[in-house]
Amino acid sequence: MTTLTDPPQESFRLSMLLNDTRYRSYTFQFIALICLVGFIGWLVSNAAQNLEDLGQDISYQFLGESSGYDINQRPIAYDSQSTHMRAAIVGVLNTLIVAVLGCVTATILGVVAGVLRLSNNWIVSKLMAVYVEAFRNVPVLIWILIIFFIMTASLPGPSAFRGDDPSASMVLDAFAFTNRGVYVPKPLWLDGSMIVVITFLLSIVAMFAYRRYATKLLFDTGRLLPMFWPSVGILFLPTLIMFFLLGRPIGLEYPELRGFNFQGGIQVRGSLIALWFALAIYTGAFIAENVRAGIQAISKGQTEAAASLGLRPNRIMNLVILPQALRVIIPPLISQYLNLTKNSSLAIAVGYMDVTGTLGGITLNQTGRAIEAILLLMLFYLTISLAISAVMNVYNNAVKLKER
């Protein structure tokens, strides 16, 4: 009988770096690291050489200098004397405004279209299929430009609203659609308005407390309290009562035609509307597909099982299908939000001053600080994406199927 023994311990030889799997990975990583460092070094030395030849340097001094250009949509105080830093912040806020508006609208559109596409009404489901395919297969830039040209070229100018027999008129006396943008009423916050707002916030809390209590009662005793109407009541009644008790502290300022233009109200520019609607409709088409896929992913047996337990169709949807479908729908939904935010950088095509338009556009062109400006721009988008992916990971871990 031969006995198996460990082979004698080999001493380390240089060829083992290539032929022994234990060491080979170190060799590869070492080579990769050298290549990477060499490549970065090459880029940096090139950049240093080029900058020296051009007499430039890398510095962020320009952020403190006065910008000298105007931005037409200002969420915070800004004028042409403000710094480039402030211009960038205005741009960031504008990006966030259009991203939030777009995400909310896209979700509504997408969920409605996705559910309707599954409807057994032939004409409705076909219409929704046409919507989804038409918008998914055409670049969003084209949609942004189309809506922008509708807003600027097809709508009447403010002068069309003037005179005894105007060719255009305001909708409900409150909304004016002009080629300079849409004018909407602006809320006026008078004395006591804070109390109304606080009441509203409290009633939101109260509504959730009521729903929690009702669910707990259901689980503990089996008694079913009505859910929908009490919720609506708790949400709106106290606020309305408070609003009228305090003598309507929140008013509306309507836009009015004065001179050559509309005064008062809020002016929503055509560029914002084009970007907002195009992004919302485009992303909505993708969300519709996600919603449809999520609902179809739940097997029919679930619906049948719920029905055989005696649940009504409404409850089947709310208690059985949706909780499972959401697990499938939400991760792609969040990545669609991310896409929408990144696509909002197309603002530069219609002159909406988002962060790409201020920091990556006018600031870059005025100061010539290309490397610095683009680096900051990328950093901003990177921060947003990484933040959203972090949120998504937390969510995914929370709803992950817990199997043993």
């Binding site: 990975s25 590869f28 990583q29 990769a32 690291l33 990477l36 880029l43 090139n46 950049a47 050489q49 080029n50 900058l51 030849d53 409807s119 057994n120 009404n121 032939w122 004409i123 409705v124 219409l127 395919e133 038409a134 998914r136 297969n137 055409v138 670049p139 969003v140 830039l141 084209i142 949609w143 430009l145 189309i146 040209f149 070229a153 990144k342 696509n343 950088s345 197309l346 530069i348 095509a349 790409t356 990556g360 870059l364 290309a370 490397i371 683009i374 721009l377 990328m378 988008y381 990177l382 994406s385 990484l386």
Partner: protein, 430 residues
């Protein structure tokens, strides 16, 4: 009761009745309408609303389409011909189609990109449809060089030499790959570079041999530019994406982190910022004095962008494979490159097809973004030279409608192909 003789019963039917037709409401079109359009009050309302919406859209679009003017020299002519009636001014398409499709490409050479476009179908056919003869793949291999020669022109020696370089590299690779994959790969690369280096001298000697008229990259535009960018960037980014995906799955921490950082960085920033990099920043990072085409810089950036997305799709495919497949490869005694090439990737790529097609469609649509950095692709042509000209200032719907239609045809075609391919590749039993 049953004992009673039969003759006491008043009437007994002796033959079977033929089946009577179903009620009118349960057959044909009426049944279909009842089930699909008017099954409930809510559904009926939706149907009526849907019909109204369709009617609204058609009543606006049909007169505009049917009453369109196809022959006019400017928008004023169009308005004169229409004389107040509704109608599109499609004359802009008939007059400016060459700009929309070819950009500023020399007019007498339109046959070159057209031929390259037609040959593209022959080149892609064996890749897309696996039942075609495998010999056709040879043409697919030759196609990039033919297409480059046709579109950009110049001496025929340039594409031939680069082809020779690839061929020599491939021969060296097949010789050495038996020893190990790495030896073969790096040997092949070294041989190819040597051939190109020597070939450079030959081209400098005689650069007019069988030369087609050289076309500057900045003259390439219109829809052709979108197609070129889409096809080139996608073809290059596919292998790059596979390498990145494998790198991200690797057990070697440094390689893994290089890939992770690259992928997450590219996916985290919008394509526009990368195009800005191509336009204004990239030149800083190249050796002083180098100056290459904007179109090439843009291609590099879009390729990196697409590669990062494709890598994530393929990573999903790799993760979806059961561990047993990896272990099977190991237990057969295959090394890493063999088990990847022969066992893992064929399956992982099959799973990833829908995702890859999504990326492809998205990438093709994203090629329109180059208009933002003032390249004249289809959208750039519409926004720039055509809408800015005094003749056609104000023809929005016709131009953007045409652009949207072109993209729709291509993107919808690609997605239909991918659905067909998924059905073809379905090997599981159901």
């Amino acid at each position: 009761m049953s004992d009673k003789p039969a003759h006491n019963v008043a009437f007994v039917r002796e033959t079977t009745l033929p089946p009577s037709p179903p009620p009118v409401a349960e057959t044909g079109a009426i049944k279909w309408m009842r089930e699909n359009l008017f099954s409930s009050a809510f559904n009926s309302i939706m149907t009526i609303l849907g019909v109204l919406a369709v009617y609204q859209i058609l009543s606006l679009a049909l007169p505009w389409l049917l009453n369109g003017v196809w022959n006019a020299s400017s928008i004023r002519d169009c308005r004169e011909i229409l004389d107040g009636a509704t109608g599109g001014c499609f004359a802009v398409l008939t007059e400016r189609w060459h700009q929309l499709v070819f950009g500023r490409y020399p007019q007498d050479s339109y046959w070159r990109p057209t031929l390259a476009f037609l040959l593209m179908f022959a080149a892609f056919a064996p890749v897309l449809f696996s039942n075609l003869p495998k010999k056709m793949l040879i043409f697919t291999g030759l196609y990039p060089f033919i297409a480059y020669y046709l579109v950009w022109g110049g001496s025929v020696l340039v594409p031939i030499l680069s082809l020779v370089g690839f061929a020599v590299g491939y021969v060296v690779y097949t010789r050495l790959v038996d020893r190990s994959f790495a030896t073969g790969f790096f040997g092949g690369v070294a041989a190819a570079i040597a051939v190109w280096y020597i070939g450079g001298f030959i081209i400098n000697e005689d650069s007019t041999f069988l030369a087609l008229e050289q076309v500057e990259s900045r003259d390439i535009g219109g829809f052709m530019l979108n197609l070129i960018l889409g096809v080139v960037c996608l073809s290059v980014s596919l292998p790059l994406g596979i390498v990145l995906a494998l790198g991200r799955q690797s057990r070697m921490p440094i390689i893994k982190w290089i890939c992770v950082v690259f992928i997450e960085f590219i996916r985290g920033v919008p394509l526009i910022t990368l195009l800005f990099v191509a336009n204004v920043v990239l030149a800083y990072f190249l050796p002083p004095g180098t100056n290459f085409d904007l179109i090439l810089r843009v291609m590099i950036m879009i390729t990196m962008f697409a590669a990062a997305y494709i890598a994530e799709v393929i990573r999903g495919g790799l993760a979806a494979l059961p561990r047993g497949q990896y272990e099977a490869g190991d237990s057969l005694g295959l090394d890493y490159s063999q088990s990847m090439r022969l066992i893992i990737l064929p399956q992982a790529l099959k799973i990833s097809i829908p995702g890859i097609v999504n990326v492809a469609v998205g990438l093709f649509k994203d090629t329109t973004l180059v208009s933002v950095i003032s390249m004249f692709d289809l959208v750039g042509m519409v926004r720039g030279p055509i809408l800015a000209s005094t003749d056609w200032n104000g023809v929005y719907w016709e131009l953007f409608g045409f652009a949207a239609l072109l993209f729709f045809v291509f993107c919808y075609g690609i997605s239909q192909y991918s659905q067909w391919l998924e059905r073809q590749l379905q090997t599981d039993h159901r």
